[in-house]
């Protein structure tokens, strides 16, 4: 039998379908810059989802747990080797994602004899000012995109678009405070999840995403999921800038 370019295209299509089907149900992750740092937020069952990578770098994603773990450990290994061999200033999101992680994911995706990564990942880097913060989203095929102010990963690209509208409203000016950022991120999460999983919604269009519908959906989801939010703190004097937010810091933004 001869392996033709047609077979290659076909196998890529199959892989894409397989991965996207499995990602659709994943819990989205919202990332947003605020005046005092960078925030990542998601909802989870029991397993932790947001992780510190390096002094000014954190990461979260959706998809296969063990695939995410491979990316997490790969990123941490690279960051610490670089930070030790050169300096912490040489560990940047662009090098970690673009140089250390993305090529391996691309390779796994193109290698038809091996399982691809089932992931969409979101990396965040804190700068000295909100406008210097950077987000990278990384797809299962190794493609990555860099963004300022906010970023999202969700079950489908359309759902990510809808999330971005919530994260950066048209009337938004400058960096929000932590409370506002948390509220926007939580709404964005709900919208992203709804959009990826509710077929009717996609037909009805974004107008049908009323305040009430989002609230009801969130209340429903919070029955068996809990909010996980982590920050990189711009102004802390601590060695570790990364911190998971405590329950009492999250409670004020939850629907009653």
């Amino acid at each position: 039998m001869v392996y033709t370019p047609y077979d290659f295209n076909e196998s890529v299509r199959h892989r894409t379908e397989y991965i996207e089907e499995r990602l659709r149900d994943g819990s989205p992750v919202a990332g947003i810059s605020y005046d005092g740092g960078v925030l990542l937020l998601t909802l989870r069952r029991t397993q932790r989802k947001i992780f510190e990578v390096y002094d000014r770098l954190m990461f979260a994603g959706l998809g296969n747990q063990s695939d995410l773990e491979i990316i997490r450990v790969g990123a941490i290994d690279f960051a610490h080797q670089e930070g030790y061999a050169r300096s912490p200033d040489d560990v940047t999101i662009q090098r970690v994602v673009g140089f250390a992680i993305s090529p391996g994911i691309k390779r796994a995706f193109g290698d038809v004899l091996n399982a691809p990564f089932v992931v969409r990942a979101l990396f965040a880097e804190m700068g000295r000012k909100p406008e210097e913060d950077l987000f990278y989203t990384l797809n299962y095929d190794g493609e990555f995109v860099s963004l300022n102010w906010a970023a999202a990963v969700a079950g489908t690209p359309e759902a990510e678009e809808q999330m971005m509208r919530q994260l950066v409203p048209e009337d938004a000016e400058g960096a929000p405070d932590l409370q506002t950022a948390l509220r926007r991120a939580l709404r964005a999460w709900a919208v992203g999840r709804l959009w990826a999983t509710d077929m009717h919604l996609q037909e009805e269009g974004a107008e049908s995403l009323t305040e009430e519908r989002i609230e009801t959906f969130l209340r429903e989801q919070l029955q068996d999921l809990q909010v996980e939010a982590a920050i990189l703190d711009r102004f802390t004097k601590r060695e570790r800038k990364f911190r998971l937010l405590k329950e009492d810091e999250i409670r004020p933004i939850l629907p009653e």
Binding site: Y54, I76, Q81, K237, R238, E239, R240
Partner: protein, 247 residues
């Protein structure tokens, strides 16, 4: 260390056979560092001089460094080796916490310091690269500050009230005991009192040891570790206390 070794980033100190010992490089040394317990944790103070033989190389040396949010290391001796190992320890603790998703235990951190010192031994035996650390930590489980001092081979000892290292520290050993016997234990002192005593100790060390800068020309570095993490003592506070000592 395994990770760094696998990628060729960890440099083992090289051993020169005894008969080929070359005249020692004139290396830069840090001089006197002091660790005192006080009411809220442990206070570390160090003068800022670094010397090479009898030359003063630098008068802005930082010899009190945070290893993580609850651990301080104060170093005396070979500046080059000490800085490299401090950098290694900082990365090692952070790497552990980030990959394992839990903090390394205090015992684990202390053992890692011992290992680093033992790894340094072959150089130290040739008369180069020896440094002595004093590690101060806030033990969150016990709710108290703790001080550990080491020898050049990596033996670790826990100290009840104070620790010190460096050329000036030997000269002032008796002063620590004098303060303990006349003014009571350090761990009951307020930050201000402990600071006052430690600046006085540095001042005496500078009088007795030519390699110690003391407190007059440049303010010492002072850091404390408490249940809240690491705190840099502000310069104004140090200069006020220094002024009150001049009489």
């Amino acid at each position: 260390m395994a990770l760094l070794r696998a990628h060729g980033l960890w440099r083992e100190p090289e051993v020169t056979p005894a008969e080929r010992v070359v005249p020692a490089v004139q290396e830069v040394h840090g001089t006197t560092v002091i660790a005192l317990k006080y009411r809220d944790g442990v206070l570390n103070v160090g003068d800022r001089r670094a010397t090479s033989a009898n030359a003063i190389m630098y008068d802005r040396a930082e010899k009190i460094l945070p290893l993580d949010d609850y651990t301080l290391i104060a170093i005396a001796g070979s500046y080059a080796r000490a800085m490299e190992i401090v950098r290694y320890l900082q990365h090692s603790f952070k790497y552990y916490a980030r990959t394992q998703l839990q903090e390394m235990s205090l015992e684990g951190k202390l053992a890692e310091v011992s290992r680093a010192l033992a790894g340094n031994l072959s150089m130290a035996l040739q008369g180069i690269g020896l440094f002595i650390p004093v590690v101060s930590a806030y033990d969150l489980e016990r709710g108290e500050g703790r001080i550990f001092f080491y020898d050049g081979m990596g033996a670790r000892f826990e100290s009840v009230e104070f620790g010190a290292a460096g050329s000036g520290s030997e000269r002032i050993r008796g002063v620590f005991d004098y303060i303990l016997k006349t003014k009571g234990p350090f761990h009951e002192m307020t930050l201000k009192d402990a600071l006052r005593e430690s600046l006085l100790l540095l001042d005496i060390a500078a009088d007795l040891d030519s390699a110690t800068a003391g407190i007059e020309k440049v303010l010492p570095v002072a850091r404390a570790v408490t249940s809240e993490g690491i705190m840099d003592i502000p310069e104004e506070m140090l200069s006020d206390i220094r002024a009150s000592l001049r009489r």
